[in-house]
């Protein structure tokens, strides 16, 4: 196992040799260096802890006091009655778009690139374009969404609508889905495919009944992490029409009207509230952050659990 190569645990005999060579001198330089390295990790740790503590200290009282009301109430310019209901709803709708759009296309693209494509110039170009897309800043996807989904396809999507936001987010995470899926497919050993071909299976049969089942845990883990990423992504939604202020959700509208209607998302609400000067808004922003982090950390923990549970070494 490729593990910890350099951490040397000395046996008593080795320890004796070390002592003979180095004497009992304590190696100060070595220790300083190690403490320096450890210190930098501790800084990261402290940042994470202070972040969580600050958010909890500000937001928890709001959550405890308002309870379910805060999670379901609509946006408002009055911090005492504003809630994140519309944001949670919008975020869930956007995740739905990601799951229905980016996952099938992304997994399909990865299957093509890993299983079907020969090493041609076209394949290399496809791979390069996926990697480049993964590095494009999120806000540029927002511009794409604004130009294409909000304005150009406006008559279909309803302009600044959930559809436009969901499509933008789907396009944004697509390269991530392709890359993580391709990695899981690459981890399935060639011998499994050859065994399938050996008994006369076609390429698709091998992929469907051998490669995909073995790659499934990896793909699932990647998908969950992708959703976690999509929930927290803010900048593209600002450009692709997410509402920052408040809007009224009319009850009793149909599915199409809802999808073509205005939307907001949890991170958009957080952005809007944390810009407000008043302390009350800062507190409810922190409360909304708690809700968002709970979502994301749960998803991450699930992904880590799945990875450890199903990790397979060939």
């Amino acid at each position: 196992m490729a593990g910890q190569p350099a951490t040397v645990r000395l046996s008593p005999a080795q320890e004796a040799v070390r002592r003979a060579l180095e004497g009992n001198r304590f190696n100060v330089g070595q220790l300083w260096f190690q403490l320096l390295l450890l210190g930098s990790l501790l800084v990261v740790f402290v940042v994470l802890i202070t972040l969580l503590l600050d958010v909890l200290q500000l937001g928890l009282p709001v959550l405890l006091e308002r309870g379910v009301d805060f999670l379901t109430a609509g946006t408002s310019s009055n911090a005492d009655i504003a809630g994140i209901g519309q944001g949670i709803f919008g975020s869930l709708l956007i995740i739905m778009f990601v799951a229905m759009l980016a996952f099938p296309i992304g997994i399909g693209a990865a299957i093509y690139l890993e299983e079907y494509a020969y090493d041609t110039r076209l394949t290399r170009f496809l791979n390069a374009s996926v990697r480049n897309l993964a590095g494009v800043p999120a806000i540029v996807y927002g511009l794409l969404g604004l130009a294409v989904f909000v304005i150009f396809l406006g008559p279909l999507t309803g302009g600044r609508s959930v559809i436009a936001g969901g499509l933008t987010m789907g396009v944004l995470v697509l390269p991530i889905v392709v890359i993580t899926t391709a990695e899981s497919l690459r981890a399935v050993p060639q011998s499994i495919r050859e065994a399938g071909y050996g008994v006369g299976a076609t390429k698709w049969q091998v992929i469907r009944s051998h490669v995909l089942p073995y790659a499934a845990p990896g793909i699932l883990t990647g998908s969950i992490l992708t959703i976690a990423r999509a929930i927290g992504e803010t900048a593209p939604l600002i450009l692709a029409g997410g509402v920052l202020g408040g809007f009224a959700t009319r009850p009793g509208t149909g599915a199409v009207e809802t999808l073509q209607g205005p939307y907001t998302a949890l991170p958009l609400i957080i952005f809007n509230w944390s810009r407000q000067p008043s302390d009350t808004f800062r507190e409810i922003a922190a409360a909304a952050i708690i809700a968002l982090l709970v979502f994301i950390l749960l998803l991450n923990a699930t992904a880590i659990y799945l990875r450890n549970r199903f990790e397979r070494r060939w």
């Binding site: 910890q4 190569p5 350099a6 040397v8 330089g29 070595q30 320096l36 390295l37 930098s40 990790l41 800084v43 990261v44 740790f45 940042v47 202070t50 972040l51 600050d54 958010v55 500000l58 296309i105 997994i107 399909g108 693209a109 299957i111 093509y112 690139l113 299983e115 079907y116 494509a117 374009s129 996926v130 990697r131 480049n132 897309l133 590095g135 494009v136 800043p137 806000i139 540029v140 927002g142 794409l144 130009a147 294409v148 697509l174 392709v178 076609t202 390429k203 927290g232 803010t234 900048a235 509402v243 202020g245 957080i270 944390s274 968002l292 982090l293 994301i296 950390l297 991450n300 880590i304």
Partner: protein
């Protein structure tokens, strides 16, 4: 024994026509899915270039060099945005490069499996924190505790606080890419170093780090690219909502390319204002796209070099 005379003709091993057709259709579907990446790339370039061109062809070029970025008043000083981006990214790199690389060396060379199991999830958790949350943290904690005492001014909003937030954001990225590179250095190099009597510190710094240098450079470039493209932290903490004077002093508010775009889009919930404000959004986007694309391509070159070397 089968005689040579009555052997059947060459057998068709390709299977039935229907089966072959189904295979071809499935292959075509997957290929189309892969093709969407090219379609998206083209759409990005088309939407950016189209509007950017309409901006450049209509704008009074003298307004591109003025005293600040005020798109709603028709002043589009690009230098303001670029200098703001550079100041904030530079502060971010000053934070993230030492923290990330030290974390990578520790995790790859020093940490016992137990410490690794403790620290690695912390880095991963921090990497999973959305940038809008780090923006809130920078405004609520970093600005009052670090930047305000250092600068001695009253405003919470400054490029310095944004830079610190960006640095925290990219530290896990730098650490994980650099650690991958160091992890890929063959054990035999370390053993050779120990065999020559080198200590762990010399082995880490003089053998492992040089052997992984392309990957480490790639990590730093990737971090820089992320810092330049980072939006939300800057939009929350750097101040300068409507526009910004040219400044490179990190104690003052400033504007980056990304924050300028969100400011245009959030000003009134609509991209409105001066008729050119809307296309200017895409012009800035195009500049940002080209800069990050270049950095990513360079970083990938470096990654490929260390892959080949090992």
């Amino acid at each position: 024994m089968i005689g040579a005379g009555n052997a059947p003709g060459p057998m068709d091993l390709r299977g039935s026509v229907a089966r072959r057709r189904r295979e071809a259709i499935i292959r075509g579907l997957f290929m189309a899915a892969a093709g969407t990446s090219i379609l998206i790339s083209l759409l990005i370039i088309a939407s950016l270039v189209g509007e950017a061109w309409s901006f450049l062809s209509r704008v009074d070029l003298s307004t591109l060099v003025s005293d600040g970025w005020f798109p709603r008043r028709g002043r589009y000083d690009l230098a303001t945005l670029i200098s703001g981006t550079l100041v904030i990214s530079a502060i971010g790199m000053v934070v993230a490069a030492p923290l990330g690389l030290a974390a990578a060396i520790y995790l790859s060379e020093y940490a016992s499996p137990r410490r690794r199991r403790f620290f690695k999830p912390i880095l991963e958790t921090l990497a999973g924190v959305p940038s809008v949350v780090l923006g809130f943290y920078a405004l609520a904690v970093l600005a009052p505790t670090i930047i305000q005492p250092l600068c001695g001014n009253n405003s919470l909003f400054s490029m310095g606080a944004a830079g610190l937030g960006v640095g925290i954001l990219i530290t896990p990225l730098v650490a994980s890419v650099a650690e991958d590179a160091m992890h890929a250095v063959p054990l035999s190099l370390r053993e050779a170093s120990y065999g020559l009597g080198a200590r762990q510190r010399s082995t880490s710094l003089r053998v492992v780090v040089p052997a992984a240098v392309s990957g480490i450079v790639a990590a730093l470039i990737l971090g820089l690219s992320r810092a330049i493209g980072e939006t939300m932290i800057v939009a929350i903490v750097a101040g300068a909502v409507g526009g910004s004077q040219f400044t490179i002093n990190p104690c003052y508010p400033g504007q980056t390319m990304t924050a300028a775009m969100t400011a245009l889009a959030t000003g009134s919930d609509q991209v409105r204002g001066d008729a050119l404000a809307f296309p200017s959004l895409f012009f800035v986007g195009l500049v940002l796209f080209l800069v990050t694309l270049t950095l990513n391509v360079v970083s990938e070159r470096f990654v490929r070099r260390y892959r080949r070397a090992i």
